[in-house]
């Protein structure tokens, strides 16, 4: 799976850096958030993927040029009721994927609310990607590509239509995010991270510091 993106690492004497990013998935329930992550992390697809309660955590490392990018992925519960938990997951995140189901118009509207909330309340520099999932159900499409693309452009979001089932564009969307994330200015990233995380309920702040300071940007 991840071999496609492992381009030009090592070998040519370039210094290999490691960067760590917190990425959160948001979107209406059963649009395929967990499936996207499962496809990305394990290359698997479960037809009857169980619903996520609270949130799930997974990690995956990919290679972008000479940089090793490690994603810490927070996969959140989709039900509106769990909304109150969401801030504790997206606060401090450097990237977010907002997912909707192309065969369901309402999930696209929900995605737009998420984008609004992220742009208002998450870190100012957060990279947001919009994923129109379930591309395999294109014959039942309810949201046109152009409509979504236009919306994404207006709000400067990365946009792709994906299918966790067929794996279409799954790798690509994560790679695009990785490419767009600021890898050059790691010290600033780290300090910003720790600042924003300090107030967060979820305690990923403390553990991150020793971990990243040890291996970042060698």
């Amino acid at each position: 799976m991840s071999s496609q993106t492992r381009t030009g690492s090592g070998g040519g004497g370039t210094v290999n850096k490691t960067c760590q990013f917190k990425l959160v998935l948001l979107g209406e329930s059963s649009v395929g958030k967990s499936s996207l992550v499962l496809r990305f992390v394990k290359g698997q697809f479960h037809e009857f993927q169980e619903s996520t309660i609270g949130a799930a955590f997974l990690t995956q490392t990919i290679q972008i040029d000479d940089t090793t990018v490690k994603f810490e992925i927070w996969d959140t519960a989709g039900q509106e009721r769990y909304h109150s938990l969401a801030p504790m997951y997206y606060r401090g995140a450097q990237a977010a994927i907002v997912v909707y189901d192309i065969s369901n118009k309402e999930t696209f509207q929900k995605a737009q609310t998420w984008v609004k909330e992220l742009q208002r309340q998450a870190s100012p520099n957060i990279v947001i990607a919009l994923a129109g999932n379930k591309l395999d159900l294109a014959n039942k499409r309810a949201v046109s590509y152009d409509e979504a693309k236009q919306y994404a452009d207006e709000h400067s979001l990365l946009f792709m239509e994906t299918s966790a089932k067929t794996a279409a564009n799954v790798m690509d969307i994560f790679t695009s995010i990785a490419k767009k994330l600021p890898k050059t200015d790691l010290s600033e990233q780290m300090s910003r991270t720790s600042q924003t995380r300090s107030g967060v309920n979820v305690g990923s702040a403390n553990q991150n510091q020793p971990a990243t300071s040890g291996c970042a940007c060698k």
Binding site: F48, E50, G54, F57, T59, R81, S84, N201, G203, Q207
Partner: protein, 1102 residues
Amino acid sequence: MEVQFDLFEHLIKSPSKEFLNQIIYEAFNQSQEIKPSANFIDQLSQSLEIDQATSEKLIADLARLIRKLIFESQTNLQQIQDVLALSSLQTNLKNLLGKLLAERLPQFRNKLLKEEEMMPKLLDFKCRVDIKMEANITDSETKSGQQICLLNLKTDEDTKERIRANSVKQPIMDISDIIKQQFKKRSEKQLGLLSFLARLYPNDKCGSNGLPLTPNSIRIYGKFQYLKTITGPNLCQYVDIQRGQNERLFVLSEHYSLNLQDLLSDTYIYNLIITNSGLLLKWIDQILKAFLYLSDNLITNRLVSLKNICISAQGDVKLANYGLYYMSENGNCVDFAVFNLETLAPECYILDFLNTTENSHRSCSNSELLNTELANPKSDVWAIGCILVQFFFGLKNLSLKAEEVIEKMIEVNDFSSGYDFILDLYGIDQAKKNLVEHKTSSIYLKLIKKCLTIDSAERPNFRELTNFFDKCLSEEKIGAFCENKCAGKKKLNLFRNGVKFCESLDDGEEDILWQLGVNEVYFLWKLAAGDCLQTLKTNGRLKTTLSSIHKFSVYTQAENGFEHGKLIHEEESKFNDQIVPVSLDQLRKRFELLSKKIFFPLLEFKADKFEVENIQLQPVNIRELDIDYQLYRIVLFSRYLGAFPFKKEELIKECRIDIPPLYRNLAWAVLLEVPLNIEDIYSSINKEQVTSTDRQIDVDIPRCHQYDPLMATPQSHIKLKRVLKSWVLSNTNLVYWQGLDSLCAPFLYLNFNREELACGCLTNFVKKYAANFFLKDNSAVIHEYLAVFSHLISFNEPELAAHFESIDFKPDLYAIPWFLTMFAHIFPLYKIFHLWDCLLVGSSAFPLCIGVSILKQLRNILLKSDFNECILFFSELPEINIEKCVKDAVNIFQSTPESCTFREHSGSATEENDPLLDMAPISLDKLKSEMAPRISARDVISLAKEKTHKYILIDVRPNSLFSIGYVTESKNFPFESINFSKLAQALNPSSSTSDTDLALPFFLAQNKNAIKIIIASQEFLDSAIDLANKLVKLKFSKICVLHQGIESLKPTDIYIQEPKCCVNDEPKIENLNLELSKQTLNTMISGLNKIKDQLNSIAASQ
């Protein structure tokens, strides 16, 4: 019965012997309440020269004598004379009367035997005392019941038969005896197995929602479940369905090997039956009853044949194999025709042939239209007509070819009646027709003709047919007979139909095995390694090996992208309508070895209990596989459940030991105190009402425990939705949160055909264990729960707590799905059952202990893991040993004082809390900032009094306060004097320590396993909490803080007030330090070294 002989004197005047005989005859009639005619009385008075009143009295007295003699069976001359000898009659008259009576009485007696309904002759009787309950459904509080003595009278069964036969004035013949003799083995009650293959879908076909199509075997599996509830009269009860490999299904049901086809094949028996009109009427009546019940329950049989009408040992009809058409969704889920060619109704021919021969090409909408047509139960009415023709015409080996039938079918409208058509189809010529019609009662012919109405619109349905049949009977002056035993015996019990236990010692069942219900027998058969596939193989129904050529072709075809395994099944093995008997011999033998007492436990006497102590030491998994033990549990639980709500306490006590899987649903309902009128409550909820959570429920259900075939069935999805919606609608203060579906699944799984119980269990489960979790805003509740959980980790697993603290790993990150679903989201169903068996007998704090117990099981790995590893670890929980988990959880529960699990939002009604002695809510922030739990004064007192656990009391107040008053057995370590750096260093080998610094760690080390209660006054409470936090970080276990401070203990007798004069004296604690001799110091240092070593080894293992 005293007989007056005085009037008999007048008989001496009787003109002749004949006249005397006539008098006797009239007297006999009188004894049967047939009054003699006025003429006869006149004649009698004249002949004997007495008045009419005396004549009547004479006849009455004589009648009484006759009745007495017959009743007492004193019908021979000697006996009669003995009776007459009591009288003072003339000897001549005595002799004559005796002789005449002796001549006539045997005749009279036989006449009575034939005509009268007599008291059945008592052959045997048994008795036992039992508890009968009368639970009043409308009033759950009403608990009226009584201990009653059950008398079981074994009577002469023949009498009943005779009465029936007599009603149509036929010679007496007991067919059930003949059947028993002739078909001894075959008419026994059995378990039957039917096996067939479901239709395979092409490999990667998907439904419109993008999900794979539900396999047909799963669809059938789901559809079958309803058939378990069909327990009508004269039907073989369905027991279970199992899925094998390659879409093979095994259907198990009650079965009898003897059927009408067999009876037809035996000419002797057949002739006996066909001339026994009483029996025929009974059977036809039972067949109609069975079909009426089916059609009332919306089941169309379609597989009507003589072979599927079984006869039980009692000579009753038992309809078999009636559910295949239903469970296969009108034949759509299988590749073979679900009908009997010979009995298929005209309207079905064309439709069914379309259905089966071209099924691959038909369009969906079309097939649905066909289905409603096809499922019309009127086709079964036609079929009954057909089998009656077959039976009365004695058609044994009817084998029709499909093409011939079709050809005939085209001409069906040329026939004047369906009856003629069938006779023609079956090849019956005019001569035979006349012969049979001549000897067959017109009732049957009328019935047959009515059934065989060609036009389905005109053909009666079963209700009409039954009425028609009853009308025919009354026209023929044949009264209604033998009411069915099952009718009207409905138990008004929450557990109606839930358990079958032997109410009578013999229900016509001699077989020890069938003292149990068919479900119970099946359950035990499975435990006794009963295997469906093996049963098929031993009956020669499955080819066990494939030739290598076959294998090769399978292999190569698969390579080419063909369906896998298509060739493995030969066409004929897809379906064979022959039901295979399942061998129960092993089980029966095993039962016979057991004491019969096991079936009739005396619940009041402990001494009578089955020897279970040894087996109850075994793990639950082993106990659940032990046949003898399960039998004992089943009988015991069925008794308790049958007596419910009496014996509830005993039942719960037994549940604490373990719960037999067969009755888990009912046991859980008892433990959760589901109201008795739950059926009414549930049915009053409008489950179709549209709610705002419908969409969420719709998207969650298809992902809920779908690995399980039952949960994956369309029926399960419908039911789960109904139950969840009912919950949402009836708990208006709560809302649906994702996860409630998982929580509901185990209840639905266990109560698949009793949604009301599932809903009742869910409601009460949430109330007790997940109170307020499903509030619209539940964050305060959940966060409090998780904070208390953290405290329990600290209390029981301080190493983990310290580690988690150091990596900032909080329960919020992983434990929300644990507790929100009470572990139903993280474990598969079979594990949840065992976990909840234990959880349900515990308090609402028990789930917290389970959480700690899971962590304990994973401790070694977790201690080595960093934040990311820990959280990844919980995303995919590794295998957890539930048995151990439950055991640990119980230990944790027992070693943790109750107040340590106190929660403000626990939902339990706050009884009168003492503001000092009991817990009171503290703010969430404070709760979170504290690492150790608090303990109530009440718990401290009970520890001090009852000494159930080892404990120490650490008083951190300044000496000055301690010396004024203190708690018994407490030790004073003033907070200021505790050198925390030293406390840590004290555990470090390189540091030098002074004596005073050592006091606390030494004290703690000495009492490693004791509950360590830190005491302060309100003023110094923060110091106590500070110390507790530090001790937890230093990995000391069982740390807790006295909740309301020492003030709460002051009014109690464990608080010791020092006399005022002591104020200026040396504080007690310093005395303690001064008393430290060199010797004690040495022991302290060696003790300390031990701690040091342990800590080193822990550090090394990290």
